[in-house]
């Protein structure tokens, strides 16, 4: 047992840290997804990483991956979170990519993978439907074969950033006669295909991150089918189980703890600062303790991954505890800013925007961020579902 990183890993950390410092676009520093970004803002860092060959660390080297070790990937994730870079959008790189290189035809691989890497195609995910949230297999969007095409009808929801997307990958029902999981196929669609409309969903923080996507008699060429017809559920499950690393968000939360402490150090409480308030300091300490435990749990998972054991259902633990910490952080940040959490300054409501904030800069986003983060325990398999998984898969109940 040893806590120290190997010298080559230390050198690697130095290398990526320098790279980020020197290459991350100045105008994006400190911004997050909800900062009213343009499409090009989202892609700027993606393109830089593509040039460097670092856009898809999780991919096999032959398809354009980095060939990094588990530890290196972990370090990369940590450094990105610490530097608060906008993460590369996961829909193409982390979700679709692995499905393509694992299950798709050679032609599809040749066509789609490079375009994902370069950022030429912006993908979005068509999984959830209004009627099927946690129960994904109960979907109702239908694709009916008609010559060289499928005719698709239905709707998808919670489609993140679909407003910028070029393509959407969808789960569709191609056989309604068999039980839920068996009649599902995995289909790729150009989002400009007639019959596809994207309707914004405004969430309670006032932001437009997600959408509903309506599919009305959409004609999709059969060559856009990935793998075999009616085998889509296998690919979907593969995708959901894939690339859980970083799911705990430890490095990001550590960064947020520092920010919270800075805020609490500036806020007054009585004759001192809020950080000097014993109640608040205690809550911060409790949070740090939980985060430290989570960090070491993640490191233990990492160690067993390095030893060749794939990430098992223990990943659910990282998701649950990780999101709980993230949510508490937004909660405590809102608490820290006091009455200045009330103002809701609309528009591209961010630090550094041209709208003059009410109260301190750091207070502007406290409320919306708190509201927005309620999704963390809902999306990606709600925390209740994660507990079901652990009960079954880990505890054998």
């Amino acid at each position: 047992m040893d806590l120290n990183f190997a010298p080559e890993d230390v050198a690697f950390r130095e290398q990526v840290r320098t790279f980020i410092a020197e290459n991350y676009p100045e105008h994006l520093r400190g911004k997050n997804r909800r900062a009213g970004l343009e499409k090009d803002d989202f892609l700027a860092w993606h393109r830089i990483l593509h040039k460097q060959g670092w856009v898809a660390p999780s991919w096999p080297k032959e398809y354009g991956g980095t060939g990094w070790t588990v530890t290196q990937k972990y370090i990369w994730g940590e450094e990105c979170a610490t530097a608060e870079v906008l993460p590369v959008l996961p829909f193409g790189v982390n979700m679709l990519g692995p499905v393509i290189y694992t299950f798709a035809s050679e032609d599809q691989k040749k066509h789609y993978l490079p375009r994902i890497l370069s950022g030429e195609d912006w993908w979005c995910q068509g999984y959830s439907e209004p009627g099927s949230g946690s129960d994904l297999a109960s979907l109702r969007t239908k694709a009916v074969r008609d010559g060289d095409h499928y005719i698709v009808n239905g709707s998808k929801t919670w489609t993140t950033l679909a407003q910028h997307a070029d393509w959407i990958f969808c789960l569709v029902k191609t056989n309604t006669e068999v039980k839920a999981q068996e009649g599902i196929s995995f289909l790729l669609m150009d989002i400009k295909t007639p019959g596809i409309t994207v309707r914004p969903i405004i969430t309670m923080d006032g932001s437009h991150e997600v959408n509903e996507v309506f599919l009305e008699d959409v004609k999709v060429p059969v060559e856009n089918l990935v793998g075999e017809e009616n085998k889509g559920w296998t690919y979907a499950k593969f995708l959901l189980g894939h690339e859980r690393s970083g799911i705990a968000g430890v490095a990001g939360s550590k960064r947020q703890v520092e920010k919270l402490k800075t805020i609490a150090g500036s806020e007054r409480s009585g004759t001192g600062t809020l950080m000097e308030d014993t109640d608040f300091a205690r809550k911060v300490a409790e949070l740090e303790v939980d985060l430290l435990a989570l960090e070491f749990t993640e490191l233990r998972t990492l160690a067993s991954e390095s030893a060749g054991k794939g990430p098992g259902p223990e990943a659910s633990l990282l998701k649950v505890k990780g999101t709980e910490v993230q949510q508490r952080l937004t909660d405590m940040t809102l608490e820290a800013v006091g009455y200045y959490g009330f103002p809701f300054v609309n528009g591209p409501n961010v630090e550094g925007s041209n709208i003059f904030p009410v109260g301190p800069d750091y207070a502007t986003q406290a409320g919306p961020t708190y509201f927005n983060h309620r999704k963390a325990s809902i999306y990606g398999g709600s925390n209740e579902i994660q507990r079901n998984i652990m009960a079954k898969m880990v505890l054998g109940l």
Binding site: S269, F342, S377, I378
Partner: protein
């Protein structure tokens, strides 16, 4: 020992209930909230005509002989509808200050116009540095003959964009956090030197930063005694707490009902999600939190006329309960609604946001736990 309502009180509740049902369905509410002004002057006038603003005042003050219980009833129903009209700042806070310590002239001039719906008040007690400490005041009021000159910055004044009159706490003597030396002034919002930056709040209401630059105020505008405003402000604050506890109780009930209804109909894995035991127990916990909050709402509203210590303990205890329960119920109502709970399209998020703000309004859980512990020591 009696927890029943009089016939008049039940009538009052029915009146408010009907108003809210008829006029404050979510779509209508959002239309008001997103309008230029952010509230409805028309509704405000209707509420006045329904007699709601006279309900808590004694007959000699032109009211209906009611008490805080009437306010509690009104606020519960307002909470059920997420009503944004400024009943608390105008009727509860300003009305309460005038009732407690207004001069005869002030009462004669202002109470009828509050009751009639003509005057809207906002009470500017907070300052950027002060957090929840009512005594942490740097706004100065300097004597200028028989007048005062006010300078300072009052923060997050709820309802101020709608108000034509402000009540401002300012320091007439003493150091920054001294209990004595604070005086309350009635200030016309259009007085020279009063400027404001108005903005929406996260729960769909409106507030302002108020900047006072050499604002001239007559000595007649002082409520109560010079230098002795704090105890007065403190008492009215507790009445404000009692009122928003009732509002929160109403909001929690709706959230719980909505969530139970949703879980009975929403199906996943072939059955209503309300059949899953974990969600059932969650809703039971939400139910218990709500019941405890209603109990504490009754408690505080019944104890407002007890001694200062008893009243303050009651207010802090109730505020702690409401803060915790509101957060628990709000967060879980969103969670149980899943993705739908995150959208602006259902009422869930709106209740959650209002409950979130109530947790902070008049001081949060930590503040009131400390206050309670100090009073209890």
């Amino acid at each position: 020992m009696d927890f029943s309502f009089t016939e008049e009180q039940t009538l009052l509740r029915n009146t408010v209930q009907r108003f809210v049902q008829d006029n404050y369905e979510l779509e209508a509410r959002q239309k008001i909230v997103n309008s230029e002004e952010g509230f409805s002057r028309d509704y405000w006038q209707q509420l006045a005509e329904l007699g709601l603003f006279m309900a808590p005042f004694s007959e000699e003050l032109g009211g209906m002989g009611g008490s805080q219980i009437e306010t509690m009833i009104i606020m519960e129903e307002f909470g059920r509808g997420l009503v944004v009209e400024p009943y608390v700042p105008t009727v509860v806070l300003a009305g309460g200050l005038l009732r407690e310590a207004g001069s005869q002239a002030q009462k004669d001039e202002l109470l009828p116009s509050i009751i009639g719906g003509e005057t809207i008040f906002a009470v500017a007690y907070a300052e950027p540095q002060g957090r929840y400490n009512l005594a942490d005041i740097t706004t100065r009021a300097e004597k200028d003959g028989s007048d005062f000159r006010l300078n300072g910055h009052k923060a997050v004044v709820l309802g101020a964009p709608w108000a034509n009159k402000l009540i401002i706490s300012a320091r007439t003597s003493g150091g920054q956090r001294d209990d004595s030396g604070i005086t309350l002034f009635i200030v016309d919002k259009n007085t020279d030197g009063v400027s404001s930056r108005d903005y929406p709040t996260i729960d769909g209401s409106r507030a302002s930063e108020i900047i006072l630059e050499n604002v001239k105020v007559s000595g007649d505008a002082v409520i109560g005694e010079v230098d002795d405003g704090l105890p007065l402000l403190s008492k009215i604050f507790d009445e404000g707490i009692a009122a928003i506890c009732a509002e929160a109780s109403g909001a929690m009930r709706v959230l719980n009902d909505t969530t139970i209804e949703y879980c009975k109909t929403r199906k996943q894995f072939g059955m209503p999600i309300g059949k899953f035991q974990v969600l059932q127990h969650r809703m039971v916990d939400m139910f218990m939190e709500c019941e405890q909050s209603v109990s504490m709402t009754y408690m505080v509203n019944l104890k407002l006329d007890e001694s200062d210590v008893e009243r303050e303990k009651a207010a802090s205890a109730a505020k702690v309960q409401i803060g915790k329960s509101g957060k628990f119920i709000g967060q879980n109502a969103v969670q149980l609604h899943g993705g739908m709970g995150m959208t602006d399209e259902l009422n869930v998020g709106h209740y959650f946001k209002r409950l979130t703000m109530i947790d902070t309004q008049f001081g949060n859980v930590d503040h009131h736990l400390k206050r309670y512990a100090a009073l209890d020591a």
